[in-house]
């Protein structure tokens, strides 16, 4: 894939040193040291309130750390300049009014507004990119539909297409399967693996320990601090999970050799900072 941005291949996609984040006096993240190489596929695991969303928000530049340094492609996330388009971010969209009068293709086009710049209207090339992004995530047929007419899984794809429309090098997803059924989750994971195979760096916040461990190459376990990180088969031990989730985690080995399956006591009331 041609890279008009000229990002050096050897610089890490994300590098965090001694990062601490306090929000309204509360410590949300502490002592975070993390290096995400370009081309890797990371899962970010942790219980509710562990700071997973905050960590993503630091990487995309929505929050500045209280202490420590963050670099995205070697630059501070708030000073990326034209490299900003190299980041694609798929937030949890519960802060968005899902009845907002807007068509699918217009939501996806919003991803290009930063590239377009103030005052300029989208041209044919921009609409071409929107069509490609919708095609990529498999919802080209929904382009003219109002956003509110879509299912949870379809909406998730709209926001993924919006993140992909600038052809990013680093894709960050915050619990992309939270509002999605099992079949839709599986096809979303397939899509992410495909993007990864094509060279994209993917960082995904997830609760799906068992599923995620099957296809990511690295895992970071977060509970305000980084409890552990590295290859999933090394990191995902009973001790790590116990430290991360406290005593809430129950660990099942269905059969020898199979991926361990973990159940966390349900705690659906996700708290966001």
């Amino acid at each position: 894939m041609a890279d008009p941005l000229d990002i050096p291949a050897d610089v890490p996609a994300v590098e965090m040193r001694e990062v601490e984040v306090r929000l309204q006096g509360r410590v949300i993240l502490q002592d975070i040291n993390l290096r995400i190489e370009q081309g890797s596929f990371w899962a970010l695991l942790g219980p509710n309130g562990a700071g997973k969303t905050t960590l993503l928000r630091v990487i995309v530049g929505l929050i500045r750390p209280t202490r420590g340094t963050v670099r995205v492609f070697g630059r501070p996330p708030w000073a990326l300049g034209p490299w900003r388009r190299a980041i694609g971010y798929v937030p949890q969209f519960h802060h968005v009014d899902l009845r907002f009068p807007v068509r699918v293709k217009d939501v996806v086009m919003m991803g290009r507004y930063g590239v377009l710049g103030l005052f300029r209207r989208p041209g044919p090339e921009d609409w071409q990119r929107v069509a490609e992004a919708l095609e990529r995530v498999g919802i080209a047929h929904l382009a003219d539909r109002p956003l509110r007419a879509l299912s949870g899984g379809e909406r998730q794809r709209v926001f993924l297409a919006r993140a992909l429309v600038t052809q990013p090098r680093l894709l960050l997803l915050d619990e992309p399967t939270a509002a999605v059924d099992v079949a839709a989750s599986q096809s979303l994971y397939d899509l992410l693996r495909q993007l990864h195979r094509e060279g994209m760096t993917v960082v995904m916040v997830s609760h799906d320990v068992g599923v995620v461990a099957q296809f990511v190459d690295s895992v970071a376990c977060l509970n305000r601090r980084l409890v552990a990180h590295g290859r999933p088969e090394v990191v995902l031990t009973a001790d790590t999970l116990d430290e991360m989730y406290g005593c809430q985690a129950v660990f099942f080995h269905h059969m020898p050799g199979a991926t361990p399956h973990m159940v966390v006591r349900p705690d659906d009331a996700e708290q966001k900072p």
């Binding site: 309204q24 995309v60 530049g61 929505l62 900003r84 388009r85 980041i87 971010y89 937030p91 969209f93 802060h95 968005v96 009014d97 009845r99 907002f100 009068p101 807007v102 068509r103 217009d106 939501v107 919003m110 991803g111 290009r112 507004y113 930063g114 590239v115 377009l116 103030l118 005052f119 209207r121 989208p122 109002p146 509110r148 919006r162």
Partner: protein
Amino acid sequence: MNWWEYAFMQRALVGGVMVGVLTAVIGVFVVLRGMSFMGTGIAHASFGGVALGLLVGIDPVLAALAFCLAVAWGIGAVTRRGALKEDTAIGIFFAATMALGALLMGLRQGYNVDLFAYLFGSVLAISTGDLYWILGVGALVLLTVYLLYKEFVFIAFDPEGARVAGLPEPALYYLLLTLIAVTVVVALKVVGIVLVSALLVTPAAAAYRLSETVGEMIAWAVALSVTSVVVGLLLAYGLNTASGATIVLTATAFFGLTLLWGRKD
């Protein structure tokens, strides 16, 4: 003599229609961004300004503009710093400026007939000079919305996404607050301090239920707002009722109809 032959009715209609267009367009962004209470707060802030203007003899409209801008930016700054929730900040600023206005009016001698006109509007007392002021300022506001249309839609839909995409979201937010404040002040003469937020919110809220895109919503809001102004003015003339109140109740009637026939979600 027929109603259309009176110069005051002609000025009322022209002024009312211009204000109706302006409040409808800005109101769409107010409703989409969930800032209806913000509109009310900014509108009431103008009371302190009008009272100060009447007391010390400066143009009450200019004094109101200063107050509205100060309160709009103040609420924005306090909220964005995370010190207070937005509705709490609005509640505090709004009550404080109303109290200040009441205190200043108490210092003024005599009967406050002018103040009553500002509180409830005096569309039938619009001067030709007022029309030029509405036209000039209104054109400036609409031009700004035209130029930054896609940005305002994005920050109304998903302010965080806008920041991630690289838009100067804080600056756009403060610009939107500024446009709301200016619109409120321009609309004061027509519907008054108490009712101006209704012109911002009601037509846009009705339009929300009828539209699939923001462009459609603006078209519906403008159509409903202008119709409400014209029908309301004629009803007020015919029934000899207060013009601002009649306009607002007409708009509310249209909103009621969209509850019956608009989309159901």
